[in-house]
Amino acid sequence: MSIISVKNLEKRYGDNVILSGISTDIEKGEVISIIGPSGTGKSTFLRAINFLDPPTGGEVFFDGEIITKKNIDAVRRKMGMVFQSFGLFSHLTVMDNLTAGPLKLLKMPKKEAEEKAMELLKTVGLAERATFFPRQLSGGQKQRVAIARCLAMSPEVILFDEPTSALDPTMVTEVMAVIRRLAKSGMTMLVVTHEMDFARDVSSRIFYMDEGGIYEDGKPAEIFEYPQKPKTQIFIHNIRSYNYEIETRDFDRVEMLSGVENFCFSHAIDKKTANKLQLLAEELVINIVSPIFDKCLLSINFSEKLNSYELFVTYPGENSNALEITDDDLSAAMAEGNAKELRHEHSDGINTITAVL
């Protein structure tokens, strides 16, 4: 029997339908990543499952039992939730945050609750912070405490609502490590996430959410390598490429370059390739194309075919090769020297300069 069964779930705010007709079964031990563009109801779906925002239609079953407003408090003891902004009880110490539920709801003896809490704090690496207050912890530490607090109730399922979105990039790793370990231990999890590495490598199943429901449902390999439906394909493509649109020659150069840097970082591109990509973006867009044509578009993609990165600068207009008409010969030479291949094409009134690394 499925641990969570969703039947025809609907959620609307007035006339505004957020989710409709969602039906799915989640088995014990599954690790499900919920991905998709913002505003497609990923968080709303999680919050509807545990009735923090009760669904306006359909049913949710937990362990075969239908969830109602009456039994929800009992169900929630077995279905934990981790929030984007942690939600630690700020007036209680780390230890008291962990023992509040077991003591008051499960009527666990104090000694046992504290021993268990200490054990959990050790597994998330925060045993020495037991007497600290939440405000004395870093964001990553807070989220690890929140996960431990969830585990203190010995839940059967944990819902993660963008657990690393509010964190500094440097703190994402420590929290993801804990979540990965938890996934490997066999815990049933639903994770709304933007961490594609996690979705691809750790989860056993992916919900791609769009159009007010689960748009595509499959194993990570299926979704990431061979997405079946058009919106999934665009999404997967977009998360693997970087696009930056330039409107005038006085555009925000810092934003574009740091965007390239972030793309390189999040795709774990090696230092040498990253440097080349940044240099090409700088020479081609800032020094060659935008001074002449104003409007242009920068995109960086990973090409499966060439097993290499490609950088495109496109600009509208008649056939004219910016590389040839530019005054900046030094920049042109630099671009030439850093790309394995550098070519200009023109079709349908669009010029494209392609650089292959």
Binding site: D73, G80, F83, F86, G87, G101, L105
Partner: protein, 527 residues
């Protein structure tokens, strides 16, 4: 505790400065008067011989009078400009400071005022009886009581008792500290009567040693009760609340020093008059003799001022008891109102956080209404309208009124504090399995209570000070104790400063206690 000491020190300094200034003006003004060309316009021209001044000299001058009297009409009759003062002692300070030219009062009270130590610089002129002579009578709302009192009056007029009372109290300057004549008192076997007095109209009514009501009118009330062989209960009410107290039927009869006037006759029933009085104007007698009283204060400095102040205002007639009892009453009202107000305020806060529009509107309306109304008005409304016909003790009514005020501010304060709690924390508690109510108890309340604490402490201090108006409904609190002492000693500064100091001490101590309490519930961490 450092701040406490600093506050106390600065307060003492202020007292020193104030008294110094007060004394300075006392001695300097007479000197200035001689040289100042304008003095003639603001102050009656004082001749070498005191007797030469008549009431006509006050035409066009500023004359202080107490509200609730008829002297404003008399002042206009003689062409003077009336300025209202709540008390004769405060008003006469302004005469000394040259802000007023004289103070109008009835003759009997003027004589007592003049004979008070420290007032040797004062003289008075009498307004002739063809301009003003008013009959003094008792007031009631009950025709039966009026008839009975009239019967009693007729008897004592015939047997010479009233004449004897006039001789002892009004025709000579009475010894106010002398014990009252022994008049038999009865239990309530044959019934009882409530008599209202102000306790601030020497020699008609005043508060003697051990808070004993004394005076001509008090003796009259005792004789009336003895005549009818019933129990007498004397209520002491502030001037401002006196007539409403009688009109609302809170008491059976008011026997004090009130004149029969047409306006009053519209509202209350008067008995036959039992006395009549003339009107007089008190003024600073002369430059030379005026310095006499004042110099006694200044010549020997602050320590002496303090010594005579304590002697006259606290030790004489055991007046410190009055202050102590007043302090007790103030504290009882403040603490009880704080406790009930907190409970009530929590309920109002619960209403304020409801989603139902009507219920929510009602809560906001209540808080707005209470916050937008002066406390003294609320107190009077509670007393005369809400509890108009009940026999509940005045102290309890005051507690109810102040609970309503505290309730509104506690509710708003608590609501604000609740709104500062991060909603995600509440969601987190719900997601663990806490019910809405238990999540409130575990997460919201502890945090909200901490954040509400500073405002709560502040609210208590405000409440303690706000209780100073309970004198309006016949409660003798700390402020009223100071007023009563002032009405006996006519000392403008000492009782005021004493009362202020006690309030300050009380609130400072309470704030410290609250702070320790906050520390305790915060587990030693200030949030």
């Amino acid at each position: 505790m450092k701040t406490t000491t600093a506050i106390l020190l600065s307060f003492l300094l202020t007292i020193l400065l104030l008294t110094a200034c007060g004394s300075d003006s006392n001695t300097e003004i007479p000197d200035l008067d001689i040289n100042n060309e304008n003095s003639g316009q603001t102050k009656p021209v004082v001749e070498e011989e005191q007797t030469s001044l008549t009431y006509k000299d006050f035409s066009g001058k500023r004359i202080g009078i107490e509200p609730g009297t008829v002297f404003d009409i008399v002042a206009e009759d003689i062409g003077a400009i009336p300025v209202f003062y709540n008390e004769i002692s405060a008003g006469f300070e302004d005469v000394r400071k040259n802000r007023l030219d004289g103070f109008m009062s009835d003759l009997a009270r003027s004589q007592v005022f003049m004979d008070t130590p420290g007032n040797e610089d004062i003289d008075y002129v009498v307004i002739p009886d063809y301009i003003f002579e008013a009959p003094i009578a008792a007031m009631s709302m009950d025709q039966d009581v009026v008839n009975r009192f009239n019967t009693f009056l007729a008897v004592i007029k015939n047997d010479g008792t009233l004449e004897d009372m006039h001789n002892r109290w009004l025709r000579t300057t009475p010894d106010l500290d002398a014990p009252m004549l022994d008049i038999p008192r009865f239990g309530n076997g044959n019934g009882s009567i409530n008599v209202a007095i102000t306790g601030m109209s020497q020699p008609f009514t005043y508060i003697g040693a051990n808070e004993e009501p004394k005076g001509f009118s008090v003796e009259l009330a005792l004789r009336f009760a003895a005549f009818e062989e019933i129990e007498v209960i004397i209520d002491v009410i502030d001037f401002s609340g006196y007539i409403p107290y009688i009109i609302s039927g809170k008491t059976d009869i008011g026997i004090d020093a009130y004149y029969i006037t047409e306006e009053r006759r519209q509202a209350v029933l008067f008995t036959e008059p039992y006395a009549s009085d003339l009107c007089s104007i008190l003024y600073l007698s002369s430059n030379d003799s005026g310095a006499g009283g004042a110099q006694e204060q200044t010549g020997n400095g602050f320590i002496d001022w303090l010594k005579t102040g304590v002697e006259r205002n606290l030790l004489m007639d055991n007046r410190w008891q009055l202050v102590l009892n007043g302090l007790g009453v103030t504290m009882i009202i403040a603490f009880c109102a704080q406790i009930t107000g907190t409970v009530f305020g929590s309920f109002v806060c619960w209403i304020l956080t409801r989603k139902n529009k009507f219920v929510n509107w009602f809560g906001r309306f209540y808080c707005g209404l209470i916050h937008g109304t002066p406390v003294v008005v609320l107190l009077m409304i509670t007393y005369y309208i809400i509890f108009g016909n009940s026999s509940i003790s005045n102290v309890i009514i005051a507690i109810v009124a102040f609970s309503m005020v505290t309730g509104a501010s506690v509710a708003l304060n608590l609501k604000g504090a609740i709104e500062t709690v991060d909603p995600v924390e509440i969601e987190a508690a719900r997601s663990i399995g806490f019910s809405a109510f238990r999540a409130f108890l575990t997460v919201t309340l502890p945090q909200a209570a901490r954040r509400a604490m500073p405002g709560y402490t502040n609210g208590f201090v405000e409440l303690v000070k706000a209780t100073a108006v309970v004198g309006y409904i016949a409660i003798q609190d700390l402020t009223r104790a100071g007023d009563i002492i002032r009405s006996r000693t006519y000392d403008a500064y000492f009782p005021l400063l004493l009362v202020a100091l006690i309030y300050l001490l009380m609130t400072t101590i309470c704030v410290q206690i609250f702070k320790q309490l906050i520390k305790k519930i915060n587990g030693g961490i200030s949030l």
